[in-house]
């Protein structure tokens, strides 16, 4: 008899925004998405997604009740931050007065470029490998803030040129099983889905 292990992926609820497309994408790759509202729920999942909906402050306010638990599952369950979810991992942002999770040095700035917000497909160049299975290519962006002109060393491994600057598009911290993408994998076709599959595979191993 074959045993099917369904990976439970917790999508943290900031109380705002629509996580429907992440749920759709996770279901498509055979995972079981679950909206996370409490520390107990957070402990019950195999992987965690910090989604890219809402604004920096509103997300940090809602996240405050989960920060301790997030810090304690970090390193055991893989965590993927998407768009704003990646930005929250830094010290703070031009978008809000509240501090971020502070997992990484760096600050989130308002981007500059031919158009803000930066909406559409853009190229991600990878300088290094990541066990998440992310590869260089085109992904879908939709944002006004980012870590701008980041230092070119791990955990910063994916970069995208926009206007006259470079934005951090992929963070990969294998040691802490913490990952982030500035783009939206759930909207980035096959390449995007393969990143979510990578998260599922890490949760299984």
């Amino acid at each position: 008899m074959r045993v099917r292990v369904v990976v439970k992926v917790g999508v943290v609820n900031y109380g705002v925004g629509n996580v429907g497309s992440i749920f759709n994408a996770l279901r498509r790759i055979g995972a079981e998405p679950m909206l996370i509202n409490s520390a107990v729920e957070l402990r019950s999942v195999d992987a965690v997604i910090l989604p890219g909906v809402g604004s920096f402050n509103s997300a940090m306010v809602n996240l405050s009740r989960l920060t301790d638990e997030l810090n304690s599952v970090r390193g055991s369950s893989p965590i993927l931050g998407i768009c704003l979810g990646l930005q929250l991992m830094f010290k703070g942002s031009d978008e809000g007065e509240l501090g971020g999770l502070g997992w990484y040095d760096g600050w989130v700035n308002r981007i500059r470029g031919p158009r803000v917000p930066h909406i559409g497909w853009d190229y991600v160049k990878l300088n290094g490998e990541c066990n998440l299975g992310v590869i260089g290519g085109y992904y879908y962006f939709m944002h006004s803030y980012a870590v701008v002109n980041p230092i070119n060393e791990p955990p910063n491994i994916g970069f995208t040129r926009y206007g006259g600057s470079t934005i951090l598009s992929v963070l990969c911290d294998e040691g802490k099983a913490t990952y982030g993408t500035q783009f939206h994998p759930e909207k980035s076709g096959k390449l995007g889905l393969s990143i979510l599959s990578g998260l599922i595979n890490l949760a299984k191993s």
Binding site: N18, G20, S21, P114, P117, I119, G120, Y138, K190
Partner: protein, 256 residues
């Protein structure tokens, strides 16, 4: 003036939907059955479409819930951005479309009747999720805005209207030339050239695509090109089209 170079241009198949079937009209009239929305959407994602648009062309009260079901099914089947329009008259209509899985909504007639809906949607969902659709017809030396599916003429000049909705917070414009729509004789290039000079938000060109050359011409001025029947009927394959555009110097997303 052309649009900023270096930005990736998008190809967007558009599906006009009536009772869960994709249909297509000529010059806004005479509908023909084109296929199943989920099947077509999946095929387009596979071929490399950058985004999809679903338009509710029944927009009747009873047709509305059927259409939202179509949106839900398509959103569950694809993982590229999905725009939804047709019959969005209020914040509540928009909310239902977002909940069904839309990433952006387009408003047309409702925005002309009460422009404050554009600002309200932009505040609530962010400019990136708000598309204003403009149907324009050339009358003497200007483009006039038409509403109610192209049936009713307004006093608005399309280029000025585009500027107005940009200020109100629209994140993008979907501009259809009624004259060119369904003819397959090419986009109304002059219209998009004017718009490129007048607004800074992305413009999606629509109406008139017949052959790959038409896309190349319009993408010098527009950020994205939308088309329907040439894709539905298999006259143009998106993969082949994007390879051609890329060889011709237009930056497009390629599938790795």
């Amino acid at each position: 003036m052309t649009r900023p170079i270096g930005l990736v241009r998008r190809i967007i198949p558009c599906m006009d939907v009536d009772a869960n079937i994709v249909v297509k009209g000529v010059n806004f009239e005479g509908l023909r059955v084109m296929g199943d929305p989920v099947e077509l959407a999946s095929r387009y994602e596979e071929e490399g479409a950058d985004e999809l648009f679903l338009l509710d062309i029944t927009a009747t009260v009873q047709g509305r819930s059927t259409f939202l079901e179509t949106v839900r099914n398509v959103a569950a089947a694809v993982s590229i951005p999905l725009g939804v329009g047709g019959g969005i008259r209020s914040i509540n209509d928009a909310d239902l479309a977002f909940k069904a899985g839309a990433d952006k909504v387009s408003v047309n007639t409702a925005a002309v009747k009460d422009p404050s809906i554009v600002a309200e949607l932009s505040r609530e969902y962010g400019a990136q999720s708000v598309v204003v659709a403009i149907d324009a017809r050339r009358i003497s030396n200007e483009w006039r805005v038409f509403i109610m599916g192209g049936r009713v003429e307004t006093h608005l000049n399309a280029v000025e209207w585009a500027r107005t909705v940009e200020e109100l917070g629209a994140g993008e414009l979907l501009v259809t030339s009624i004259d060119a729509d369904g003819t397959r004789a090419g986009y109304d290039i002059e219209l998009y050239r004017r718009l490129a000079d007048s607004v800074n938000i992305p413009v999606i060109a629509s109406g008139g695509a017949g052959e790959p050359r038409h896309f190349l011409e319009v993408l010098k001025y527009a950020d994205a090109a939308l088309a329907a029947s040439v894709f539905h009927m298999g006259i143009i394959n998106i993969l082949t089209l994007k390879a051609y555009l890329s060889e011709s110097g237009i930056r497009v997303r390629t599938l790795a």
